[in-house]
Subunit: 627 residues, 2 copies
């Protein structure tokens, strides 16, 4: 079954990419661009910067006149592995023979660098380098191993055992040998090995990997790393933590691994701890876009309600990691509400992090860009700032491009689930679903022009069982929600419903429709979110909109206010809001008068946040000051 | 004349600490604590951490069995020099013989480390160290030299030539020899040498030092340093820059030096450039407290209107540097308005950066502390975070304590100036002024209980000349301003007046009174300051107030709103505001309803920002959300 997460217990069973096939719409296009452009773009850069070459050099060893010189940062191996994972998913999706050949070549080069005892890393433990595991805080050795193992999970599930998965097995065994009881009883400064080993245990049936994942989870918070415990979640145990904190990607990879361990070991206390941390993070430390890692410094979660839109980090990889966590919570708890966050992050963080052509990327995704930054050089010369206002072809720390590539390639795995009764649709995209429910085939076609339109149709193509339930997630923001049964009857849905479905003896040709409004709407922040007090944003369906300076008379976003008493309107394919453009004086900016100048009336078009910075450099803001 | 800045041209002549003596009130107390506690506290730490010992080790040199091991960061010499400067000012102020003895001992230890050719630095160019000037970007060698020279200026003006000033002279000559035309035509990554050499030229009469300062100023923006040009103001020339940017302390030291050079070389274009940069920085990049370095990252200025109170840096040293710049602009232009910023920074940033007992310090001075941070360990163990919610005894980068010590010791130098017509009072403190105007003695006593009361009295003690003008700065925020002449006549002052004075044939016993309201007032931000939109602050006279969680029912500052339709009231020695305490739900924090819950009415006491965190850990905010 082709899915990145395959829990053995839990409320819902994920449907794999062999069961769900995206057939049109936005995510179909994103997958096509990913296949046609992004994966090969990443391969190009990994070769050009010689990050793959590091494996060849380790394999060749040091010799007189040939000193060992390594390219890239200490974690660059992980980019190679994440690309391998993307390729494995893509090969499974399309069977692309060219990509399969590339995958096998890459496998050979990676494998040649593996040590006799399974250790595999190009930054430590080779001639002239620091010894293995001599810097667990920042060395990223287990992090890299984790990404190799996750790629192997993808390969096992899309292809079956091969040389790549055997390499990963030797790595996993080496990790267990080295970090098991009586070994190095510490953790890696960047979580990832936990979630990887837990899934590899599921994929291989080897309980030892799960046990090692459990040990790593339990060691977090035991302060086995030096200083900076908060940053890499070594300050408090996973069980005792109350909220996600520190480096956002680390925190969310760790959460994902902890859920996997909790689910496999039936550790409800651990599951509940992570769930509570997630819930509190969503209510206090998450941006409107779903962006996590609320602050620039340390790529980290900020304190509660510290959500500055201009200094947000909201890293693309943190979005991916948040989807990983939310998906695991969906499966474990059966609660559709986690799908709202997957949808929010996917449409606003992930989709926008890749340019329409698939060849440039945002690393950070702040909700406010104060100035129109110059575009990075066309030749993509490094380093390009990770927090700039424009997408870049590559970064010195280039975790996001390959991470986005693997996520888009596997995106169909997050669309739907089954239970013993039926199928649950979590993400709305044109697709076909062909699976078994309670041992009998159920085949569906989903048709929708979502999110342009708020109508999702499920047509039954085959139902070889009896009574089945077909369920939709109802987005929390959706209004005027109606379910239309195959007999044409219309059923109003309680606005508080988390999901809604129909139980029946479905026959081929039967259609079930979910309808709701996706009209653009004003959204206001909780009064405790200091940085956007007095502002409003416009959302349309799951899509967060933004204003760009390019569309503003005068071009100065600092001089814009909006009138939220007027509903946003759609015209000429764009959402427009009533606004005023001011002309404020240059003066000491604090004084007795709270009143503003009148400004000039204007109507301003907004665009989806994901499409920001696609027309050239621009200042941008999601949160618009209210007049 | 005992003043840190002695321009040879300009509109106003500064009065030295031998002419102005602070005799009571807040600044008298701060100077007393500085003398009794802070200076010796700094000396203790510099010995305990062996940062002074570095000089001994350089002097002793390396020998078998005695490898050279240096303590502290690469710029730690500068702390020793800033403390020497503080001591020199304090010796001049009080004649303390014990301190004079310490100063001489320190001089001997510093001098013993000086190389034959004048070079003096304990981090470079000694056995086992990197060569001199091999890392101009981050090495801080000229920065350290600059602080040594500034200390020598203090010594020359408070004492006269001695071994310390001769050491500095050799250093200055070495710098000119090395960095003059045909030498290393580059700059130091941290400005300071410019302002130091310009003043040393004034103090010694040596034109070569001024010329070298001019060369360094002109070289900024020529991109002679690697990367990061914005950070150390090597991105754009001083003449071409439009606003202060990059690292705040660097930017403001550079501005101070540029003004000095402009004034001495009668370069009006350069002066005007720096003045315009300052003005724009004040209107767009400065916090209500006068704090500069508006953002946490890089201790740097942010972009226009990027003024997040919780992630402000507003470093204490940047406050000192801003006072240096504002004072030079006061002297050069004669415009009293710059004194408003000196007052604002002094009362809110500088005074609060030192604990009442003089033994712990804030490095960063954000206007919003989200949580009650634990206090640093009582033994002062390093490292202590530079951005925490509590004062610390010392820091790994400990620039602020010694910088504050030298500034408090010389504070009387910023109080008043003379012109050919009379005396201008810029800062309101009880003091005596005894100077010459146009060659004839004028002696005054200033009496005031400012800022508790808005009344300043100048009494003439002696006037050996004829017609004289006595002028007061009128704070921009002051209302109901009146000047009362010696004859008792009351004169309303135009609210737009920058300064106000009386020309007359003053006789001993004549009194001139300035009166204005210091009643607490609501202050609102410019609508462009995103991070505090929808908030108000309370100021009382020059003092910015804040709320601490300790004073809040329930203790959760996130749940506070205030009612700005009710004027703040004074009761029991504290300012109180009408507030509501809310109890908001835990939910996704963005949605259709802008309305808040009602909350419970309460009255909340505020306290001066400078006194925050003096009663134990607390959450704190200056900007209070408006109901």
């Amino acid at each position: 079954m082709r899915t990145p997460v395959m829990p053995s217990t839990g409320e819902l069973r994920p449907l794999g990419t062999d069961e769900v096939r995206i057939t049109g719409g936005h995510w179909f296009e994103r997958q096509a661009v990913n296949a046609a452009a992004t994966i090969r773009h990443c391969l190009h850069w990994l070769e050009a910067l010689d990050w793959i070459g590091n494996f060849d050099r380790v394999a060749a060893g040091e010799a007189p006149g040939r000193p060992f010189q390594r390219a890239g940062r200490e974690f660059s191996d992980s980019e190679v592995y994440k690309l391998a994972e993307a390729m494995a998913w893509e090969i499974g999706r399309t069977g692309d023979p060219g990509l399969e050949e590339e995958f096998q070549k890459l496998t050979a080069r990676i494998g040649a660098a593996q040590h006799e005892d399974g250790y595999l890393n190009t930054a430590f433990g080779n001639p002239g380098q620091e010894p293995r595991y001599s810097n667990l805080e920042w060395g990223h050795e287990l992090y890299c191993a984790g990404h190799l193992i996750q790629a192997a999970v993808a390969r096992l599930r899309n292809h079956g055992e091969d040389e790549f998965t055997r390499i990963a097995r030797r790595v996993a065994d080496h990790v267990c040998d080295t970090f098991g009881p009586g070994g190095i009883e510490r953790i890696c400064g960047h979580a990832e090995i936990e979630v990887a080993l837990a899934e590899f245990s599921r994929a291989t049936g080897e309980p030892r990997y799960l046990e090692q994942a459990r040990l790593f989870i339990e060691r977090h918070g035991q302060k086995t790393l030096k200083e900076n415990g908060l940053y890499y979640q070594d300050d408090v145990t996973v069980r005792d933590a109350e909220v996600l904190r520190g480096h956002a990607v680390r925190a969310l990879y760790l959460s994902s691994g902890a859920i996997d361990v909790a689910v496999e070991t039936e550790d409800d206390e651990l599951l509940e701890a992570v769930r509570a941390q997630w819930d509190r993070t969503v209510t206090r430390r998450t941006h409107l876009t779903g962006g996590m890692g609320s602050q620039y410094a340390d790529e980290a979660f900020g304190r509660d309600f510290a959500l500055n839109p201009d200094r947000a980090y909201a890293e693309s990889c943190a979005g991916i990691a948040a989807v990983m966590t939310a998906w695991r919570l969906t499966l474990a708890t059966g609660d559709s509400r986690y799908g709202d966050m997957i949808e929010r992050i996917s449409w606003n963080v992930l989709s926008g992090a890749v340019a329409p052509d698939g060849k440039s990327f945002f690393y950070a995704n702040p909700l406010h860009q104060r100035t129109a930054d110059p575009e990075p050089p066309a030749d993509g010369a490094l380093p390009h700032t990770r927090a700039g206002g424009n997408r870049a072809q590559w970064f010195d720390v280039s975790c996001c491009p390959t991470n986005l590539a693997r996520t888009f390639a596997q995106f169909a795995a997050y669309v739907a689930t089954t239970s013993e009764h039926g199928v649950q649709i979590h993400q709305f995209t044109p697709c076909t679903i062909d699976t078994n429910v309670d041992g009998a085939r159920l085949a569906l076609t989903v048709e929708t022009n979502y999110p342009e339109e708020g109508r999702v149709t499920v047509r039954v193509d085959a139902n070889e069982g009896g009574t089945r339930e077909i369920t939709f997630r109802v987005p929390a923001w959706a209004e005027d929600v109606r379910l239309i049964h195959p007999d044409g009857s219309v059923h109003e849905v309680d606005p508080a419903a988390v999901s809604v479905g129909r139980i029946g003896e479905f026959s081929p040709g039967d259609e079930l429709h979910l309808e709701f409004s996706v009209a653009p709407r004003w959204t206001f922040p909780d009064p405790r979110v200091d940085a956007v007090r007095g502002c409003a944003a416009v959302e349309r369906g799951p899509v967060v909109l933004c204003a760009e300076s390019l569309d503003l008379p005068g071009g100065d976003l600092d001089e814009l206010t909006v009138d939220t008493t007027v509903a946003p309107v759609e015209r000429d394919g764009a959402v427009h809001v009533a606004a005023r453009i001011h002309d404020r004086p240059e003066a000491w900016p604090y004084g007795p008068a709270a009143a503003d100048d009148d400004g000039k009336a204007a109507e301003i078009p907004l665009l989806p946040f994901r499409l920001r910075a696609t027309r050239g450099p621009a200042a941008m803001r999601v949160w618009l000051p209210v007049d």
